[in-house]
């Protein structure tokens, strides 16, 4: 896992193909590279590369089923990224609360 897990999540999700992969995996199924390659307009090799990037960011994990490797979503990092955005919103709530109080107590042109 990267020392900057939320940043790694954002970086991994910056690529539209990887977001598409996440979208497919979000149905909750374990899927193989071949299955993903059938659903996406890219090669098996490209799918494998994107899955590797997602795995590096901790967004997916793999398991062996005989000769096949299947991938599934790990929800933790995605929730962390969502929680971070919640904090961005909460910071603005707090700042605008101060702004409103400030505007009520001081009239700039007075």
């Amino acid at each position: 896992m990267s020392p900057d897990p939320v940043g790694a999540t954002f970086a991994a999700l910056a690529d539209p193909t990887r977001r598409h992969v996440i979208g497919v995996l979000s149905a909750g199924e374990e899927v193989s590279v071949s299955q993903l390659a059938r659903e996406l307009p890219i090669s098996r090799q490209a799918v494998a590369k994107h899955l590797s990037a997602l795995a590096d960011a901790g967004l997916v994990e793999s398991s062996r089923h005989g000769r096949e490797t299947r991938y599934r979503l790990t929800p933790g990092p995605l929730s962390d990224a969502g929680a971070w955005l919640d904090r961005v919103g909460a910071e603005w709530d707090s700042r605008l609360g101060r702004l409103k109080r400030h505007a009520g107590t001081r009239r700039p042109s007075a």
Binding site: D4, V6, G7, T9, F10, A11, A12, L13, A14, P16, R19, H20, I22, G23, V24, S26, A27, G28, L73, P75, L78, S79, A81, G82, A83, W84, L85, D86, V88, G89, W92, D93, R95, L96, G97, R98, L99, K100, R101, H102, A103, G104, T105, R106, R107, P108, S109
Partner: protein, 142 residues
Amino acid sequence: MSESVTREVVLPLERDEAWRVVTEPDHLREWLADDVEIDLVEGGLIELGWDGGGRRHGIVETVEEHERLVFRWRPDEPGPVHIETTVEIGLDDVAEGTRVTVVETGFEALAADVAPGCTAVSSWAWDVRLGACGDLPLMLAA
């Protein structure tokens, strides 16, 4: 799912007064950050610091007097998320005074094509919470 943060608040001020509280350092220090430097021209620098820790710096992108201020910012120090985002502060007239709308964008990584049915991303449905500050106590001047 939204990839921006939007918040707004209505101030009991005329537009020109509201413009001053969202652009002048003396006023910005009352609500945005503890330490504020801003060169209010397009391409000007903005530097912010908080007593509790953390500094941000960026560039002023758009200055439309009494209408709109846009700047980009990012943390000075690498943190949990070291990304640059864009903040747009817009003003418009409402019956009670001036509405200040803040929109922070740049979270492209969280684009809407992540499947909405995914429970893992359901917490991203934070979306737009308008008027979140509307019922905060207004401390009126005596």
